[in-house]
């Protein structure tokens, strides 16, 4: 079995050849892959309620009080701590405008507890010589009982790409309803491979072990929520020094367990496989480019130009039509959702009414109210939400079908061109174009392959150097399908929002209870309250669904503006369509600088020299491909 170094070798040997690519993303992608292979990082994300001791866990790993423990939950800043890669301790802030600022420890801690508006992330590079932890990158996230909106990023970008998720629960509070809610969101993200969650029960009193009743309840409650068994680690409370300060707790067992998972053999194999495939894709892409250019030079100019013109018009129409399809579909969802919400509202009020009317033997008001607030409303709301979700899914499924149909028609037209063309070079050229487009359609491009390697949250992106910035761009690309993937992410957000909005509306109602349980009037009052709750729910949900809140000057700045769910769906669809056709459009662009097609090919003066160079480069890259094919464990 070859080593990762072989792969690095192949990449380095192909470097100059690949760098000639017309694709501006090629070099950043290469750099990213190279760094990932050289410095195998592992991503550990720590989540938990505020004060569940996440920061202390990291501090005790570092054996220094780097992070302010019990930081007040004022912000959504994520702090990144990278161990063992740097040669000196470096602390810095990454700002929203992508600039970085180096900080001293005081500045670092100050920003951690009182972040300013411009702060995006904090990062600490800590040198160290414990080789078994080299490359461990820890993310300390805000407690999930703080501001809601910032957690989406963690859910969407961090958790799915983490090698280990440390879920910290405080022994004293037990597994709270909030824990349950958050854990169930994690459970909803489990795909074929369940997310690697490690349950940590923190600040366990001395002498308490795994058989303790509370420990067992926390564990089984967590397992009931995530629907599988969890590895559970107890971290005992730190001893208090005579002068009243807490020492750092002993977390050795925890971090050993983390490292075992984060640097496991399986994981290394997986990374090697994915990187190998990504390197191969990069090479294939470059070969395809050169093939295209070769045939463009050799093809008959007149036929070529005619073909290009014909297809460019068609392509532009397809693109226009695709946008229209998206627009139309979104407008339809927009049109129909209100009545769905109305009927959900009406239905739930109806159920409450019939509950109250049907039971003549209601013991008393408080009991009834408890039953209705704690069960009838949330239970039925969840059913209604599922219905609405199903509706959106069906619509997006249709959209997906329509968009794929368009794309398939393009493929079909190009295939026909291949059949009809008599010029053998043009035939080959079109074949190259189709192949590349089909690869994109199937989501099998190099960038698609790199995406899962990008690590936590395009975490990389957060870190602020140029290479990694490019990855964020890559990370936002779409793979396989158009609309369906969009939904899997956004649909979950909708469900979460809808459920949250409901709990919010209910909690407001519960706090506002001030009426006296008069035997004659309480039922009517309860119905009125229900109507208020439902109206509130609908109002909030409609806001989430339909209302864009543009605060930034740039309407496309998704980080600053709060976009409605529908707009998010629309944007994601548009970008997925753009991504799909971008390569083709460039192929048909007469001004394409890379000289992909005829006009560009014609501008070349030294055609023979170019052809010779292409021939040599292709041979060399093909040899590299053969080397990768010979490597074990890189088959797809």
């Amino acid at each position: 079995m070859q080593n990762i170094s072989d792969l690095i070798q192949v990449l380095e040997d192909s470097w100059d050849l690949l760098a000639k690519s017309e694709d501006s993303r090629m070099v950043p992608m290469m750099k990213f892959l190279h760094e990932r292979l050289e410095n195998p990082q592992s991503f550990v994300t720590l989540v938990g309620e505020t004060s569940s001791g996440k920061s202390t866990l990291i501090n005790s790993f570092l054996k220094q009080k780097l992070l302010p423990a019990m930081a007040r939950p004022t912000t959504g800043t994520v702090t990144c701590v990278e161990y063992g890669l740097a040669d000196r301790e470096r602390l810095y802030a990454i700002n929203r405008d992508a600039t970085t600022e180096e900080l001293d420890i005081r500045g670092f801690r100050a920003l951690a507890s009182h972040p300013d508006e411009n702060l995006f992330r904090l990062k600490a590079e800590i040198p160290g010589n414990r080789t078994e932890f080299r490359g461990l990158t820890m993310f300390d996230t805000p407690g999930f009982n703080s501001i809601i909106s910032d957690h989406e990023e963690i859910l969407k970008d961090f958790l799915p790409n983490s090698d280990v998720i440390v879920f910290a629960v405080l022994y004293q509070t037990g597994f709270t309803m909030l824990n349950q809610e958050y854990m169930s969101l994690i459970a909803a993200m489990d795909r074929e491979d369940p997310l690697p969650v490690l349950l940590v029960i923190n600040r366990v009193p001395a002498g308490v072990g795994k058989m303790d009743r509370r420990i067992r309840e926390i564990k089984s409650h967590a397992e009931d929520t995530i629907h599988r068994e969890l590895n559970c680690i107890l971290v005992h409370a730190a001893t208090i020094t005579p002068d009243g300060h807490a020492e750092l707790p002993d977390t050795e067992q925890l971090w050993k367990e983390v490292a075992k998972k984060a640097f496991s053999k399986e994981r290394e194999r997986e990374i090697r496989k994915k990187s190998g495939i990504a390197v191969r894709r990069l090479i294939e892409q470059r070969i395809n480019e050169m093939e295209k250019l070769r045939h463009a030079i050799l093809a008959g100019q007149k036929e070529h130009a005619e073909w290009q013109k014909k297809r460019r018009t068609q392509l532009e129409n397809t693109l226009k039509l695709s946008y229209e399809l998206i627009e139309k579909r979104i407008r339809r969802i927009d049109n129909m959702l209100p009545s769905q919400l109305d009927s959900a509202e009406e239905k739930i009020i109806g159920i409450v009414k019939s509950e109250l009317a049907g039971q003549s033997d209601w013991k008393d008001g408080p009991t009834a109210q408890n039953f209705i607030y704690m069960h009838v409303i949330p239970f039925n709301a969840r059913l209604a939400i599922r219905n609405i979700e199903e509706f959106i899914k069906t619509e997006l499924h249709e959209l997906d079908r329509e968009l794929s149909e368009q794309a398939n028609m393009v493929v079909q037209a190009l295939n026909e061109d291949i059949q009809l063309t008599t010029d053998p070079e043009l035939k080959k050229l079109i074949t190259c174009v189709v192949t590349r487009f089909a690869t994109r359609l199937a989501g099998e491009t190099a960038s698609g392959m790199i995406q899962p390697l990008a690590g936590v949250g395009g975490s990389a992106a957060a870190i602020g150097n140029l290479v990694k910035m490019a990855v964020k761009q890559i990370g936002s690309l779409f793979g396989k399908t158009f609309s369906r993937d969009v939904y899997t992410t956004i649909g979950k957000i909708f469900t979460k929002k809808a459920v949250q909005t409901m709990s919010f509306a209910l909690s407001v109602a519960i706090e506002a209870i001030d009426y006296i349980w008069d035997a004659k009037t309480w039922k009517d009052k309860l119905i009125k309250e229900t109507e208020k709750i439902m109206a509130q729910w609908k109002y909030e949900l409609e806001k989430e669904l339909f209302e864009d809140q543009i605060v930034s000057d740039d309407p496309n700045d998704e980080a600053k503006n709060k976009l409605s769910i529908l707009t998010q769906i629309k944007n994601a669809n548009i970008s997925s369509v753009n991504e799909c056709y971008s390569g083709l459009l460039a192929d048909f662009d007469p001004d394409s600088t890379g000289g992909r097609l005829v006009s560009a090919a014609n501008r070349l003066e030294n055609k023979d020299a170019v052809l010779k160079e292409i021939g040599e480069d292709t041979d060399q890259l093909n040899k590299k491909l053969a080397i990768i094919s010979g490597m074990e464990g890189i088959t797809e």
Binding site: M177, H227, R228, S354, K363, T367, M374
Partner: protein, 603 residues
């Protein structure tokens, strides 16, 4: 000769049996068709998404009054059949599961007691169905309207009745609503039911508050979903058209007030006219279709008989050689079919195993969810045993529905794959390719003869159909809530007693940690029992499903084998007969052909 007497005629049946080798059960088919023609009954099922206004629709259409209980929500849990009777005043008869009947007054108040979910929860009154009869012009031509409850709201005991109605139905009115999209279970039901109807009337109920834009968008959405379903169930897509939009509530109001203008404005009048037109012509249409079928039978028999004569008058050795060649082709086909059959069964087995495994995950999820639901309810201070119990039952039913939904969708997927990858490749064997082709060609047109077209010569398509039927039958049968009932009963009482004494406005504040923990533990026990039982039940169901389809495949293969053997033996014996006997056979066949041609002319 009219069509009924054709299918009733013993001599004709015998004549056809003699020549239609490729059809395995001619007498059975003839009997079935003649029965259907004689039945003089046309069942129109009214079904649709929950709370789409089925009962209100029938109230407007037939009674012009509120007779069938109807709320905004799904209320009907018992099938109600309305058919023709002599009296102007409707009479209602309640049929109970034990065979008892009871005549009740045909009013909203009285019917409610039997068919309304709230008054007869979980069908505790053990009602099978309710039949209403009265003299109404729309019912005159043997039309019966059946108000069918949605799949989810019907109890297992009634499911068979609903399925039977579906199987006998000729047409249906399918009702949709804008605000409530077609759910997965609905779509499953529609897919199962679609092929059974020759005519479907699509009706979208419109609310007064809905704008025209919304209505059109809703209509488009529904049509898309339905077309998708049609595509997947090989039902002609073009039949999914003309979704009529009617404001049922306005229509009902207008019919009660007898305000013709409002009836028209609600869109109801046009729809009503469609139904009247159908009621007048369904008999002719049915007869017409059967006549076509009859002519086709006769024609095919003539072709087969002519082929027989050719064989009998040809050179014996040559014919024998040809027969052997044909036979070996047929056997090769059969062998290939067996191979497919075997692969299909292996695939089925492997998939079933996988579904069983998936069920473990499902039940495990249900287990966790239910325990969390109990924690949530108790922690949030729900301490009245009675209400905790109620809430718990809701959650339990929901989890059960999820498990059921999982099994259902898996079965559906499995059926599709079986059909596409295996059944579609299996050829109907016959010793006479021509005969096979002509029988198939003519009968594969899914004419207005629901129920048995699949049996007639359409080859393996039938296996798919039957298998799907079997699967649906067994999947629907256990239904929602089966496992819940018997596992939960006892424990709940204990929880109720445990917490019962804590009820009261101040009770929540009392420290009652102990009782809470006890109640939790008790409910956890119930959950554990329930999930175990549910897993066992559904895994058994998977096994049954797998066995049922395997048996259908085996049966079909055996039947094919039998047909090949019989035809071969018969034709061989014919060829080996002495010349004199052959001559007289030819004469007899010629006489038969003349007879067949005479019949054909009369038809």
């Amino acid at each position: 000769m009219n069509t009924i007497s054709f299918f009733n005629n013993k001599d004709i049946t015998e004549l056809l049996t003699r020549y239609l080798d490729a059809v395995s059960d001619v007498p059975g088919i003839m009997e079935k068709i003649s029965k259907d023609l004689n039945a003089a009954k046309c069942i129109i099922c009214v079904f649709g998404t929950q709370g789409s206004g089925k009962s209100s629709f029938l109230n407007a259409l037939l009674f012009r009054d509120i007779v069938l209980p109807a709320d905004a929500d799904e209320t009907t849990c018992i099938p109600v059949a309305v058919s023709y009777g002599k009296n102007k005043v409707p009479t209602a008869t309640v049929f109970f599961l034990d065979g008892r009947t009871e005549v009740v007054s045909c009013t909203d108040e009285s019917l409610k007691q039997y068919i309304h979910q709230n008054y007869n929860p979980a069908n505790e009154k053990k009602v099978r169905e309710v039949q209403i009869e009265f003299n109404h012009p729309l019912l005159e031509e043997g039309i019966t309207f059946v108000d069918l409850p949605g799949v989810g709201s019907i109890t297992p005991a009634n499911q068979q009745i609903a399925i039977d109605y579906l199987r006998q139905a000729t047409a249906s009115v399918f009702m949709l609503r804008l605000g409530q999209p077609i759910t997965n279970s609905d779509s499953f039901f529609i897919r199962y039911a679609l092929p059974m109807f020759s005519q479907i009337f699509w009706l979208q109920n419109r609310w007064s508050g809905e704008s025209d834009d919304e209505v059109i968008d809703g209509k488009n959405h529904n049509e898309e979903v339905l077309r998708d379903i049609a595509r997947k169930s090989h039902y002609p897509e073009e039949k999914i058209s003309d979704l009529d939009v009617v404001n049922i509530y306005d229509a009902l109001q207008a019919t009660i007030e007898n305000n013709q203008e409002n009836i028209r404005n609600s869109g109801f009048e046009a729809f009503e006219q469609k139904l009247y037109k159908f009621a007048k012509t369904w008999k002719e249409n049915l007869e017409h279709d059967c006549a076509k079928l009859a002519r086709n039978y006769v024609q095919t028999a003539v072709e087969c008989a002519t082929a027989s004569i050719q064989r009998l008058s040809g050179d014996v050795q040559n014919e024998m050689k040809r027969l052997d060649e044909e036979n070996s082709v047929a056997e090769r086909n059969l062998e290939a079919n067996r191979e497919y059959g075997k692969k299909a069964k292996d695939f089925l087995k492997a998939q079933t195993k996988e579904i069983e495994g998936g069920l473990e995950t499902q039940c495990r999820n249900a287990y966790g969810n239910l325990r969390n639901a109990v924690r949530e309810k108790i922690e949030s201070g729900m301490v009245s045993g009675e209400y905790l119990n109620k809430a718990f039952q809701d959650c339990l039913a929901e989890e059960e529905k999820n498990i059921y939904e999982y099994v259902r969708s898996k079965f559906q997927e499995l059926n599709e794959t079986l059909q596409q990858n295996y059944f579609d490749n299996m050829k109907q064997s016959s010793l006479d390719e021509n005969t096979e082709a002509s029988v198939q060609g003519n009968f594969s047109d899914k004419s207005k003869l629901p129920g048995y077209y699949g049996r007639i010569g359409t080859g393996i398509g039938a296996v798919g159909g039957i298998a799907a039927g079997a699967a649906v039958g067994s999947a629907i049968a256990p239904g929602v809530g089966t496992a819940v009932g018997f596992v939960v009963g006892a424990g709940i009482t204990l929880v109720t007693t445990l917490l019962g004494n804590l009820v009261g406005s101040g009770a929540r504040k009392i420290h009652m940690h102990y009782q809470k923990e006890e109640a939790k533990a008790e409910l956890f026990k119930i959950i554990s029992n329930y999930t175990k039982k549910a897993l066992e039940n559904y895994q058994n169901l998977c096994k049954k499903y797998c066995d049922a389809i395997s048996a259908v495949i085996d049966e079909w293969l055996l039947e094919q084998e039998k047909i090949i053997k019989q035809t071969y033996t018969k034709r061989k014996a014919e060829l080996e007969k002495p010349i004199g006997e052959k001559q007289s056979m030819i004469h007899r066949i010629q006489a038969d052909i003349e007879e067949l041609q005479r019949i054909s002319a009369e038809l």
